[in-house]
Amino acid sequence: MDLSIVILVEMLYAVASLVLISAGLAVVFGMMKVINLAHGEFMMMGGYATITAVNLGANVFVAMLVVAPITVGLIGLVVERLVIRHLYGRLVDTMLATWGLSLFFIGVATMIFGNTTTGISTPIPGFSVGDYQINGYNFFIILVAIALVVGMLVILKSTRAGLIARGTMQRSDIAAALGYSPDRIYMATFFCGSALSGLAGAVLAPLVGLVPTSGGAYIAKAFITVIAGGPSLVAGLLSSAGLFGLVNQIFTFAISPVIGDVALLVAAVVLLRLLPQGVTGKFFKGKL
């Protein structure tokens, strides 16, 4: 009984962290068809922003939920103006340019923070269920992920800004004819995507020792989740994160964490072979 609760929490946590990791990339890729390979580094910078803010005396939740997203969002804004906006519609080129950016940010972080591990302690204490100990912070991550998904749905579906953004992503020329500047909408979308990446990096920062190359651990998972999710933003994100999180945890509990990771990757290959357009290319068509 106790073990099944632990496993349930761990599974929810695995899915929630995949949702968190992938949300920023999903917004940028799903809406703008830009594959941001610097996504992992945006998360890494979110982590560093949090740690720096905490060391300067800020409350840890303020640092995670406010400082980090805004900092990384602003960095994203600069990146979009300088690099990305010249490359819209050139999928491979944006991939390469953002890969270059990711290396660039790793270099910058190494020069500023040094090639050492930094971290902060988790702000929420653990508690025990029967014989097992559960990390209380896992619940916080699950909560943030739920809030994130609900927030994305509400904004996209029932606000004017969301409507304009969705319209622009479908037909930017019509949006322009109706008087909205696609250029500025893309800019705002990229800001939101970067801010989400920063938020994810910040929330996950207490769980990992942060090094400048931390981003590499996230990018592959995020990339796989988003591509396997397919064209629908929220439905795709939820379905593929749910699937991969489940597979990962089943194999982790059954065999070992390494096999869990490998199983996730194998599941991705099989899934893409069967559904080359992603999960939502076939199911949940037309959903958000």
């Binding site: 340019a97 190494t110 072979r273």
Partner: protein, 345 residues
């Protein structure tokens, strides 16, 4: 046609011979050897990406597979000729299987990228976790994160005690590179190569003309993997150790950067890009003022923004503009082509 082919081979031999003789005067042969190996690795991706339109994010997988295969085979066999051949075959077969799965499933661009990336990651994670003594192939322990050291390095075929190392090894690698270059040139000149370029340009059209696109892409992919495997085996001999780092994402990224900087769709571009950037990295490693990765990243971004075609095409078009005489007939022909285009358009 025959005449141009002969001329091409002659030019290659003369230029390569000159470079092989000249470069050791400038850079140590130890560094040059690894530059050539990287050149070959860049060349393998340049072939499948530049001429086949297959963007593989996991060329490092085949490189690492070649290196590991060589190390394991060399420990088990105790000499180097057969392991070299196995190290070319194993990546090629792996690529055949992977390619068949991808191309017969009609996966393209991004999805192709994800799958090759994922396969590289799987290999990386797997090899990293093989530290325990139960992971043994024959008498070779896989060694996990520490890699495999202490295997038989390259020897003269038939004589396991006559090691090839130092300057001699440099010449072996250089000759291998020239051989691979000539073979690939011949391949590209054959109908297979021209059809591959056709597939890159327009897949639907080629399949409507009756060519089996999936089979051809799979074979080209396997050839690229074989070259990468050879480069991996040569690298194993050079470094005398193989580690999981060979499979890493960073390695894959670097190969793609080499191709972009050197110039896609050219034969020489990826080699130049690989050797040039690897040397730059080596030179930058000597100073500690600016971080190495930062500059690599900056170069990639600047190239994508300002010179997306790469160095070699840019230089050759500059060369044509400034030096080539424009023969009257060619100008005339160009005008005729233009007029025809206008009439159709």
């Amino acid at each position: 046609m025959q005449d141009r082919m002969g001329k091409d081979v002659m030019t290659t031999l003369v230029v390569a011979g000159g470079l092989i003789w000249l470069l050791p005067q400038l850079v140590s042969t130890y560094t040059l050897t690894v530059l050539i190996i990287y050149g070959m690795l860049g060349f393998s991706l340049g072939l499948i990406w530049g001429f086949g339109g297959i963007l593989c994010f996991g060329q490092a997988a085949f490189f690492g597979l070649g290196a590991y295969t060589y190390a394991i085979a060399a420990i088990n066999i105790g000499e180097s000729t057969l392991p070299m051949l196995i190290a070319i075959l194993v990546p090629a077969i792996a690529a055949l299987l992977l390619g068949a799965m991808m191309f017969y499933g009609r996966l393209t661009d991004v999805y192709l990228g994800v799958i090759t990336l994922v396969v590289t990651l799987i290999l990386f994670k797997f090899i990293n976790s093989t530290a325990g003594p139960q992971f043994v192939i024959g008498t070779a322990r896989l060694g996990g994160f520490n890699g495999i050291p202490g295997f038989q390095t390259l020897n003269v075929p038939g004589d396991p005690d006559a090691y090839i190392w130092g300057d001699a090894y440099y010449y072996v690698c250089a000759v291998m590179m020239v051989l691979v270059y000539l073979l690939v040139s011949a391949l590209l000149r054959s109908s297979f190569g021209r059809i591959a370029v056709g597939i890159r340009e327009n897949e639907t059209r080629m399949s409507l003309m009756g060519y089996d696109v999936a089979a051809r892409k799979t074979i080209l992919f396997a050839i690229g993997a074989a070259i990468a495997g050879l480069a991996g085996a040569l690298f194993a001999n050079w470094g005398e150790i193989v580690t999981p780092g060979l499979f890493s994402l960073g390695q894959s990224a670097e190969i793609i950067i080499w191709c972009i900087v050197g110039g896609l769709g050219t034969r020489f571009g990826p080699i130049l890009g690989a050797a040039g950037l690897a040397y730059l990295k080596f030179a930058l490693g000597q100073q500690s003022l600016i971080d190495n990765t930062l500059i690599t990243g900056l170069i990639l971004v600047l190239f994508v923004l300002f010179l997306p075609k790469g160095l070699v095409p840019a230089i050759s078009s500059l060369w044509k503009v400034s030096f080539a005489r424009r023969s009257p007939s060619r100008v005339h022909q160009a005008r005729r082509m233009r007029n025809r285009g206008r009439a159709n358009g």
